[in-house]
Symmetry: C2
Subunit: 210 residues, 2 copies
């Protein structure tokens, strides 16, 4: 069964794609053009009532919210491909903790930067310079905490690569690439080494070319 992934070939959809590559799960993508508003079409809203991306269909099973999809495949194929949940319930607890940190503390700021620096003109609104400045300051504080954490363990949840690290890939790639804010990563020694490690994984090299 080939998993069908609905979403644009960027942003949170790539969070799901890199997970599927790590787990060795075959997929096909069905593009959804957010700029054209295809995520507000009735057919799409029948799949995802909030109009967000991505959504997967796996046989007759439909699931949305990227981090829920990550957890589903990491658990469904626990012993296939890279184990992304840790070996014990305690390790999984820490994976969940750092996945929540990504969602609640890291993502809101990097999302604001991405939206206002990279997508504002395509979406037809002026970038909010005050929000950009505040978001960079808040993200810097979060990265200071990451720096301390990553001085004590190779990855966020411990000495194993997990969903918590993987979930950072798509938007951090925007930060170091098109947003030209690589200095935020490179000015922090342990964050920098972590980024080199996770962004050089073959799975991400494959997905970042899509």
């Amino acid at each position: 069964m080939v998993v069908k992934v609905y979403g644009p070939h960027y942003a949170s959809t790539k969070r799901v794609l890199v997970c599927l590559v790590e787990k060795g799960v075959e997929f096909e993508t069905s593009p959804v053009d957010l700029v054209k508003g295809e995520n507000r079409n009735p057919e799409y809203l029948a799949l995802q009532p909030f109009g967000a991306v991505p959504v997967i269909q796996d046989g007759d099973y439909t699931l949305y919210e990227s981090r829920a999809i990550l957890r589903y495949y990491a658990e469904k194929y626990k012993s296939q491909g890279t184990d992304l949940l840790g070996e014990s319930i305690e390790e999984r607890g820490l994976v969940e903790q750092w996945l929540e940190v990504e969602a609640q503390n890291y993502h809101p700021h990097i999302y604001n930067l991405t939206l206002h620096i990279l997508f504002a003109s395509a979406l037809g609104f002026p970038p909010d310079e005050k929000l950009i400045k505040e978001s960079e300051e808040k993200l810097a504080k979060v990265l200071d905490i990451y720096e301390e954490r990553l001085s004590r363990s190779k990855y966020l949840a411990g000495d194993f690569f997990s969903l918590a690290d993987l979930s950072h890939l798509p938007f951090t790639q925007y930060l170091v690439g098109p947003m030209k804010k690589e200095y935020m990563i490179r000015s922090r020694k342990h964050v920098s080494a972590w980024w080199d490690d996770i962004s050089n994984r073959p799975s991400w090299k494959k997905v970042s070319l899509l």
Copy 2:
């Protein structure tokens, strides 16, 4: 081993407490006064570097982020107390989906309402009336989607009570109680029946009195 829960006796801390009651896990609480800024004390930041609540200590295991703590105890005590994760991997996927919806779609709006209607004066800033109005409008749209969903299943993830429902309890209680916005729940037939069901669970009745 008694679980130690750090946090104030309200808001997201109650999300963890009601889960521990459902699972039959003994706990003691260690209050953290947010108004006095006790969450920014060095001792607290050593437990939770972002200064957020709650945190648990279970022997020598420390975990933060309320929804990560929910998942940890729901899995650690899978066969004790109420099963909160569903029976199959597919059911758990839907629990994760709706737990993410709560975190990403429901919580930001109800949090803004709670902060600006109930806590602004205690925290020393003026309530933002424009944000209150916008947050109520956005929450209403989310509740419309819940209404449709709950017309097809008794609970959010299916016909079983789960972490996805439980996670809504503390802030929805603020909405129907001190915020005096019970009409947002009562004007939607299936949301109203769902709220009656989940808020009348003995676990919540116990925790809401703490």
